[in-house]
C-alpha cells in the first residue's frame, strides 16, 4: 500500500479502500460496502455531533463508494456542511462531493450557492478557487443565475490573485456555454480582451479560451483581440527557448498558449492592418523555419510540442487561404512529414494536406506527393492512417490523375479494411463519374467496383450507373456488351445481376446482332442467375424479361413459359407472383403497339445532386465532402423518375409492407431500428429520397389510429395534438409499454415504470428513414392547471437522429396532486428540409400512481360504506366494445394498477378492486366494482374514492377499456 501522505491521514479511508481491494468477489465487495454504509448512516444519524474530520472522512468514503458504481442516497447534507468549514481539506472534500454527485435538489442548491457566495467573498484565494471550480464543474443554470454577475468582476478586479483569475475566466466560460443569456459581457469586454496582455502566462492561457469562445459568438465586439493576440504570439515565437522559464516545455516556449493564440486568430479573417498582418506573417514564417531547424532535444515531447504549434499555424494559413507562399511552404513541410517515422506525424500530415488540397494555391503542390500517399494507402499498418490516405487521394484527385487514383483505390479495395470499404466504394464511384472523359471507362470502373466489393456497393451506386447509361446514348452499347461479359463469370455478385438485368432489358438489342449474344443467349444467361437471387432482384429480372418480350418477339414463347411455371405464377412471394401474372397477361393480350408503348425505353433522368454524393455527405457529415460535382451537363439522375413499368409496382408493394414495429420495444440499449425501409421494396424507391414521405405514401400503421395525413405542418409553433391522441392515451391506460405513435418517418416507442407518486418514462424515437433528422427537438409541456399537478422533467435529446437510428429520452414524472389532462409531447424535426411538427398526449394518467391494496371482504365493505356520499361515487353503464373474456378483463384491471380482490363480491361474475393513488399532496383510496352482464353485453362500473375528481376520472378512463 502506498504511503498516504502524512498530513491528512484519513486512515479509516485507506483501510476501507484496502478492504475493498482485498474483496475476493463482487458479493464480498457489496457486503463490505453495505456494512460501511450502515456504519456511516448510523454516525450521521447519531446523537453525537461529528467533528469536521470524521465528517470529511465519511463523506469521502461515500464518494469512493459512489465512484465504484454504487448509488448513494444520503450524505449530501453532511457534504454541504463541510463547505462552510474553515479547514481547506474539509472544504475540498465537500466541494468534490458536490461536483461529482450533482444534485438538483432545490433546497440543497440554495445552501450550496450560499456557501459558494461566502467563499467567493472571503478574499481567501484558495477558497475562492475551490468555489469557482465547483461552479465550473457543475455549471448549472441556478449557479449561472446566482454568479454570472459576480464572476466577471472577480476576473477583472485589479487585486484578484492570478490563480483566481485563471479559475474565474474558465468558470465564466463554462457559465457562458451553459447559459449564454445570463452572461452579459458588455461592460467587461475590453478589460477581458486585455487579459491577453497579462504578465502571468497562466492567466493568458486560461483567459484566451474564454476570449476565443466569446469571439466566435460575437466576433465584432471582440475584434480588438486580433492585434493583441498577434503581438503576444510574436513575443513568444521570437523568444529564446529559455526565456519563458516556467512556460517552456522541453525547449519549446509556451506551446499550448501558442496553439490557443493561433486558434483564436482562426475566428477572424486576415488582419486588415498592414503592420499587424506583416507581424503575423513573420510569426508564421518563423514557425515554418523552426520546423527545419535541428531539434533541441531528441525527446518526442520536444518535437510534439513544436509540431503542435506548426500544425496550428498551418491550420491558420489554410484558414486565411490567401498567402500562396505560405500555403506552398506548408505543403512542403507536410510532404516531409508524410515519410516521417512517427505514425502520428504521418497521420496528421495526411489529414492536414487534405484541406490544403482544396486550396487553389496549393492543390498542385499537394498533387506532387501522390506516390507517397498511394504508398501509404498500401503499407500503413494503422487503418486510420490508411483512411486518411484514401481521403487525401480523393481530395487531390482531378482530371489529370483520376485514372491513376481510381485504379489505386480499386486495387486497395481488394484488401481494404472492412470498416472503410463502403466509403471507399462511394468515393471511387464519385471520382469515376466526376472525371469520366469517356464513359466506357466509367462503366468499367463501376462494374469492377461491383466485382471487387459487391457487398459494399450500396444501391445508390448501382442506381447511378444505370442513370448514367440511360442518359448517355454513346455508352449504352458498350454497357450492354460489358455487362453481358461480366455476367459470364460463373459466380457474379447479385448487384451485377441487377445492373445486368436492367441494362440488358433496356439495351440488350444493341448487342443482339452478334450471335454470341443473341436474344436467347442473353435471356438464358440472365435466367441462369435467377434462382440464386433474392426476391427484389428476381422482381427486377421479371421486369427485364417482359422488356425482352418487347425487344425480341422471338423470345416471347420461352419467356411466357418461364412466367407460366408454377415457381413464378404460384410463387409464395406476393410481389413475384403478381409480376408473373401481370406480365404474362400483358404479353398475351396486349397488341404489339401497346406493348411497345408500355415497355418503352426509359426516358432520361432529370438532373439533381448525385445520390451517391448525398450518401457520402451523410456518412461523413456535412462539409466533409470537398469535391463537388462540377459539370452539371454531364450527369444524369435517376432521382425523380416517376413511373417505371415494374418498378412502380415495387414502390406500391413497398408501401404496403408492414413495418417491423414490434422490434422497437425489445431494445433497452439504443440499438438502431432495423431496416426502416423494408429491403424487399428498396429497389428503386430509396432513390427518390427527395420525394420524401410522398414516395411511400400509403402510410404504415399497425394500430389504425393514425391513418390520416403525414405531419406536414410547417409552423414552428407546437402543432395541436393529433386528433387521435385521446384514443391513443386510452391505449396506455392499462399498459405501460408499447408503440405510442408511428408514421412513415418516425416511430415512438414507450416504456414506463411507476413507483409511489413517481414515474419514469423512456421514449424511443426511431428514425424509419435512411436520411437523418436534423434539429430534432422534443418538448413536454403541462397545459393549464396540469402545471401545478404534475412535475415533468425531461432530458434533452441530441438534435441529430441518423437514418435508421433510434434515440432515447428519459422523462421523470412526479404526481403532485390528482389530475385529469395529460401532458403534451411535441416533436419537431427537419426531414429533408421540411419541418415536421407533431403533438401527442403523453400517456400519463392518474391510475399510473395506483398502489394495489389487498383487503378482506369485510374490510372492503366497511370502506365501501364509508365512501357513501353521492359525490364520492362515479358510475357508468356502458356497452362492451370488446370481448368479455374473464382473463382479459382481469389483466386489464391489474394493468390499471389496483389489486384485484377475490372472494369479496358475492356474485363471482363481478370484479372488485382496491388501490391507493399516491400523489405528493395526498393519498386517495379507491374502490372499484365492475359488473359484467354477458347476455346484454353491458357493464356497470362503479368507483368510490375519497375525492370526487378521482372517482370520476378513473371511471372515465376505465370505461374506455372494455
Amino acid at each position: 500500500m502506498p504511503a498516504v501522505s502524512k498530513g491528512d491521514g484519513m486512515r479509516g479511508l485507506a483501510v476501507f479502500i484496502s478492504d475493498i481491494r482485498n474483496c475476493k468477489s463482487k458479493e464480498a465487495e457489496i457486503k463490505r460496502i453495505n456494512k460501511e454504509l450502515a456504519n456511516i448512516r448510523s454516525k450521521f444519524k447519531g446523537d453525537k455531533a461529528l467533528d469536521g474530520y470524521s465528517k470529511k472522512k465519511y463523506v469521502c468514503k461515500l464518494l469512493f463508494i459512489f465512484l465504484l458504481g454504487h448509488d448513494i442516497d444520503f450524505g449530501h447534507m453532511e457534504a454541504v456542511n463541510l463547505l462552510s468549514s474553515n479547514k481547506y481539506t474539509e472544504k475540498q472534500i465537500g466541494y468534490l462531493f458536490i461536483s461529482v454527485l450533482v444534485n438538483s435538489n432545490s433546497e440543497l442548491i440554495r445552501l450550496i450557492n450560499n456557501a459558494i457566495k461566502n467563499d467567493l467573498s472571503s478574499r481567501n484565494p484558495t477558497f475562492m478557487c475551490l468555489a469557482l471550480h465547483c461552479i465550473a464543474n457543475v455549471g448549472s443554470r441556478e449557479m449561472a443565475e446566482a454568479f454570472a454577475g459576480e464572476i466577471p468582476r472577480i476576473l477583472v478586479a485589479g487585486d484578484t490573485m492570478d490563480s483566481v483569475k485563471q479559475s474565474a475566466a474558465l468558470c465564466l466560460l463554462r457559465l457562458y456555454k451553459a447559459s449564454p443569456d445570463l452572461v452579459l459581457m458588455g461592460e467587461w469586454t475590453s478589460r477581458v480582451v486585455h487579459l491577453l496582455n497579462d504578465q502571468h502566462m497562466g492567466v493568458v492561457t486560461a483567459a484566451i479560451s474564454l476570449i476565443t469562445c466569446l469571439s466566435s459568438k460575437n466576433p465584432d465586439e471582440f475584434k480588438t483581440c486580433v492585434s493583441l493576440a498577434v503581438s503576444r504570439l510574436s513575443r513568444i515565437v521570437s523568444s529564446a527557448s529559455t526565456d519563458l522559464q516556467d512556460y517552456t516545455y522541453y525547449f519549446v516556449p509556451a506551446p499550448w498558449l501558442s496553439c490557443k493564440l493561433l486558434r483564436l486568430l482562426q475566428c477572424y479573417p486576415p488582419p486588415e492592418d498592414g503592420a499587424v498582418k506583416g507581424r503575423l506573417v513573420e510569426c508564421l514564417e518563423t514557425i515554418l523555419n523552426k520546423a527545419q531547424e535541428p531539434p533541441k532535444s531528441k525527446k518526442v515531447q520536444h518535437s510534439n510540442a513544436k509540431n503542435a504549434i506548426l500544425f496550428e499555424a498551418i491550420s491558420l494559413i489554410i484558414h486565411y487561404d490567401s498567402e500562396p507562399n505560405l500555403l506552398v511552404r506548408a505543403c512542403n513541410q507536410l510532404g516531409q512529414f508524410l515519410q516521417h517515422r512517427e505514425t502520428n506525424l504521418r497521420y496528421l500530415a495526411l489529414e492536414s494536406m487534405c484541406t490544403l488540397a482544396s486550396s487553389e494555391f496549393s492543390h498542385e503542390a499537394v498533387k506532387t506527393h501522390i506516390e507517397t500517399v498511394i504508398n501509404a494507402l498500401k503499407t500503413e499498418r494503422d487503418v486510420s492512417v490508411r483512411q486518411r490516405a484514401a481521403d487525401l487521394l480523393y481530395a487531390m484527385c482531378d482530371r489529370s490523375n483520376a485514372k491513376q487514383i481510381v485504379a489505386e483505390m480499386l486495387s486497395y479495395l481488394e484488401t481494404a479494411d472492412y470498416s472503410i470499404r463502403e466509403e471507399m466504394v462511394l468515393k471511387v464511384a464519385i471520382l469515376a463519374e466526376k472525371y469520366a472523359v469517356d464513359y466506357s471507362w466509367y462503366v468499367d470502373t463501376i462494374l469492377n467496383l461491383i466485382r471487387i466489393a459487391g457487398d459494399y456497393v450500396s444501391e445508390e451506386v448501382w442506381y447511378r450507373v444505370i442513370q448514367i447509361v440511360i442518359n448517355r446514348d454513346d455508352v449504352q452499347g458498350y454497357a450492354a456488351k460489358t455487362v453481358f461479359e461480366a455476367l459470364q463469370a460463373p459466380a457474379c455478385h447479385e448487384n451485377m445481376v441487377k445492373v445486368g438485368g436492367y441494362i440488358l432489358g433496356e439495351f440488350g438489342n444493341l448487342i443482339a446482332g452478334d450471335p454470341r449474344s443473341s436474344p436467347l443467349v442473353q435471356f438464358n444467361l440472365l435466367h441462369s442467375k435467377f434462382h440464386l437471387c433474392s426476391v427484389p432482384t428476381r422482381a427486377l429480372l421479371l421486369s427485364a424479361y417482359i422488356k425482352f418480350i418487347n425487344l425480341f418477339p422471338e423470345t416471347k414463347a420461352t419467356i411466357q413459359e418461364v412466367l407460366r411455371s408454377d415457381s413464378q405464377i404460384r410463387n409464395s412471394d406476393v410481389e413475384l407472383q403478381q409480376r408473373a401474372v401481370e406480365y404474362l397477361k400483358l404479353s398475351s393480350i396486349a397488341s404489339t403497339d401497346v406493348l411497345a408503348t408500355v415497355l418503352e425505353e426509359m426516358p432520361p433522368f432529370p438532373e439533381r445532386e448525385s445520390s451517391i454524393l448525398a450518401k457520402l455527405k451523410k456518412k461523413k457529415g456535412p462539409g466533409a465532402v470537398s469535391v463537388e460535382l462540377e459539370d452539371g451537363k454531364e450527369r444524369g439522375e435517376l432521382n425523380g423518375g416517376g413511373d417505371r413499368a415494374g418498378d412502380a409496382a415495387i414502390a406500391a408493394s413497398n408501401a404496403s409492407t408492414p413495418s417491423p414495429s414490434a422490434d422497437l420495444l425489445g431494445l433497452r440499449s439504443a440499438a438502431p431500428v432495423s431496416g426502416a425501409t423494408p429491403s424487399a421494396g428498396s429497389l428503386l424507391v430509396d432513390v427518390f429520397s427527395e420525394a420524401g414521405p410522398a414516395a411511400t405514401s400509403a402510410g404504415v400503421n399497425d394500430d389504425g389510429f393514425l391513418s390520416s395525413a403525414p405531419p406536414t405542418a410547417a409552423s414552428e409553433d407546437p402543432a395541436p395534438p393529433l386528433p387521435e391522441s385521446d384514443e391513443l392515451l386510452n391505449k396506455f391506460v392499462c399498459k405501460n409499454n408499447g408503440v405510442l405513435f408511428e408514421n412513415q418517418l418516425l416511430q415512438i416507442g414507450i416504456k414506463s415504470e411507476y413507483r409511489q407518486n413517481l414515474g419514469r418514462m423512456y421514449l424511443f424515437y426511431g428514425n424509419k428513414t435512411s436520411v437523418q433528422f436534423v434539429s430534432f427537438n422534443t418538448t413536454v409541456s403541462c397545459p393549464g392547471e396540469l402545471q401545478s399537478q404534475l412535475n415533468v422533467q425531461t432530458k434533452t435529446v441530441e438534435p441529430l437522429v441518423e437514418g435508421g437510428a433510434q434515440v432515447q429520452q428519459v422523462i421523470n414524472i412526479e404526481c403532485l396532486t390528482d389530475f385529469i389532462d395529460a401532458p403534451l409531447l411535441n416533436i419537431k424535426f427537419r426531414y429533408g428540409g421540411a419541418l415536421q411538427n407533431i403533438s401527442l398526449k403523453l400517456p400519463v394518467t392518474i391510475n399510473k400512481f395506483f398502489q394495489p391494496t389487498e383487503m378482506a371482504a369485510a374490510d372492503f365493505f366497511q370502506r365501501w360504506k364509508q365512501l357513501s356520499q353521492p359525490q364520492q361515487e362515479a358510475q357508468k353503464i356502458f356497452k362492451a366494445s370488446h370481448g368479455m373474456d374473464t382473463e382479459v378483463l382481469k389483466a386489464k384491471l391489474l394493468g390499471l394498477g389496483t389489486a384485484l380482490l377475490e372472494n369479496v363480491d358475492p356474485n363471482p361474475e363481478n370484479y372488485v378492486c382496491a388501490g391507493v393513488i399516491q400523489t405528493k399532496a395526498q393519498q386517495v383510496g379507491c374502490l372499484l366494482r365492475l359488473e359484467p352482464n354477458a347476455q346484454a353485453q353491458m357493464y356497470r362500473l362503479t368507483l368510490r374514492s375519497s375525492k370526487d375528481t378521482v372517482s370520476q376520472r378513473v371511471c372515465d378512463l376505465l370505461a374506455e377499456q372494455f
Binding site: 461536483s99 486560461a206 479560451s209 516556467d246 510540442a305 500544425f311 494503422d382 438534435p799
Partner: protein, 154 residues
C-alpha cells in the same frame, strides 16, 4: 442544454478525461459535459474497447463517435482525453504528458495505487491543470507549487 454530445457546441474542447487500466477499471473520470450515469458507463466501456486494441505502432488518436480520443499509455494505465475532431492532437497529447509528469512529481514516482488511494487529490490536480474543458495552467512549476501549498493546509 447547449453542450449536448453533438456538433452544436464548437468552442467546447475537452468532453471528458479518463484514466483506465488495461482491465478497464476506471481510475479517474472527469466529465465536462452532462451525461447521465448510464451514458457515462457506456462511454467508459467504449473508450476502453477502442483504445486497448491498438498497438504501439498505431497513432495516439482514434476517432470516437463524432469526436476523437487522444490517448497515451503509461505502464498499465491509459490516459484518454476526448476532444472535438478539429482540436489540436499534439497539444492534447502533450497535455496528457504534462499532467502525468505533474502526478509523477506530486506522488513521487506515481503508480496506479496512488491514484486509487488518493483519488480525491487527483481531482485537485486535474482542476489545477484543466478546468471547464480547457487547459487552465501548463507550468509544472506553478502547478506543483500550488499543490504543495494546498498540501500544507491539511
Amino acid at each position: 442544454m447547449p453542450c449536448a454530445f453533438s456538433f452544436s457546441c464548437t468552442c467546447c474542447s475537452i468532453r471528458f478525461i479518463l484514466i483506465q487500466n488495461r482491465a478497464g477499471k476506471t481510475r479517474l473520470a472527469k466529465w465536462y459535459m452532462q451525461f447521465d450515469d448510464d451514458e457515462k458507463q457506456k462511454l467508459i466501456e467504449e473508450v476502453h474497447a477502442v483504445v486497448t486494441v491498438r498497438d504501439a505502432k498505431h497513432t495516439n488518436f482514434v476517432e470516437f463517435r463524432n469526436f476523437k480520443i487522444i490517448y497515451r499509455r503509461y505502464a498499465g494505465l491509459y490516459f484518454c482525453i476526448c476532444v472535438d475532431v478539429t482540436d489540436n492532437n499534439l497539444a492534447y497529447l502533450e497535455g496528457i504528458h504534462n499532467f502525468v509528469e505533474v502526478l509523477n512529481e506530486y506522488f513521487h514516482n506515481v503508480c496506479e495505487l496512488d491514484l486509487v488511494f488518493n483519488f480525491y487529490k487527483v481531482y485537485t490536480v486535474v482542476d489545477e491543470m484543466f478546468l471547464a474543458g480547457e487547459i487552465r495552467e501548463t507550468s509544472q512549476t506553478k502547478v506543483l507549487k500550488q499543490l504543495l501549498m494546498l498540501q500544507s493546509l491539511e
